[in-house]
Subunit: 236 residues, 2 copies
Amino acid sequence: MNRPETIAVIGEGELKQADLSELLPFADLSEQQTRDILNLATVHRVAPNRTYFDEGDSAENFFVLLDGFTRVVRTTREGDQVVVLHVAPGQMFGIAKAFASDKYTMTARAASQGVALSWPSALWDRFIQEYPGFQTATRQAVGSRVVEMQDKIVSMATKQVEQRIAEAILRLMDQAGKETDAGVEIDFPLTRQDISEMAGTTLHSVSRCMSKWQKSGILRTERRRVVVCQPEALAV
Amino acid sequence: MNRPETIAVIGEGELKQADLSELLPFADLSEQQTRDILNLATVHRVAPNRTYFDEGDSAENFFVLLDGFTRVVRTTREGDQVVVLHVAPGQMFGIAKAFASDKYTMTARAASQGVALSWPSALWDRFIQEYPGFQTATRQAVGSRVVEMQDKIVSMATKQVEQRIAEAILRLMDQAGKETDAGVEIDFPLTRQDISEMAGTTLHSVSRCMSKWQKSGILRTERRRVVVCQPEALAV
DNA sequence: CCGTCAAATTGCGCAATCGCAAAGAGCGTT
DNA sequence: AACGCTCTTTGCGATTGCGCAATTTGACGG
């Protein structure tokens, strides 16, 4: 994995080509190309729980996440939030252009302090034509997100709450797992409410489940922190 | 809407450009181009409940549905089927190429007798380059299906079974509704089991709901047939 | 060090929905 | 016309998971 923090820390003026070239969408570019792309980019730093963009906004930009995790969320008329998918560093999001849409259909909310680059949507087609890896990267982005959504639908249709919670945690582990001596820790603050929004249930059920797992030693939790000790026990 | 049956009925040798040009992916083409595309196409006729392709198959072709309805389905290890989305005539499906994938991730099963055209996936990139409408059409196809999946996820996470069943029926109405004097009829055979797979519930719950609706005059059903009399009553 | 607030835990009752089983109905086939 | 098949209906009991409320815990700011 790339260490995108370096970009974030050193600030816009000093963005290095080396970093960008590790991002999938911009692989295999010349130095000059990389520099051009960076010159067109805007850097966003978003505090936890704030949004990169909101559902219904006109889709002026597309993004690549450099650091932090982002939840892509939909809010119902009743005010329930549902997490439709998760974005990890290195991935694109807000790619309405790939859907021939001029509005974002969901809200992108930072799960933890986040850094992203964005470009005006008007550049989308130009990037596709000029940069060979971009087309492929967008397809892969779309593909993996479609698969993620499929899995979620199947899971919600057929699995019980407990299994769905387990799946949500396993997925977070994959995306944001950090090895520690006690087990794999999920690398950003995570409330029961957050998990319930991913699993499509209530925070109560999540709390009960996780208490039970804590008792049997499968995982350990403190406030907003989760460490998974026995991932096998969560997988069905 | 186009009347794709004409294509189906008259057979491959006589496919007419006029029909193809009404399909979104191939809008705005010259006669010569249309002819070229048709020459490369294969016609598929698929009986109800048979598949165009199966989950895991290598994605050799992409399809455009001409006639009939198709369910795109995923099967769980336990054997439960979940309908992830529905394809109506004129739409593309099996577009693994748009997801940078070389395998189908789902099964496409004909809900009713169906006719589709297919092309080898190898032609995908060529079509995108050569035919202006194709790129846009694929983006729209992907976009609308992503939205459909989003809606489904939100719906399954927040709505009760009864509302989900109602939504499934309303969606079918939109896609396959045929006006009759009694109301809008869904234009292909549809079992309780089918509906339950769409709504993510059991056929029993579907049966109960629909009996209730039948009693209050909201809809009328016979074996495998559904006529919706008061669509407003189903919308929340 | 204390006050305040958000997050997490837990018990209890209830409503929704599943699962099973049995019976009935419609349709095509022989 | 009878048979067999699939689809449908319905009742009932078992569970799951939700909703509410009270309590506890931990973090943060002053």
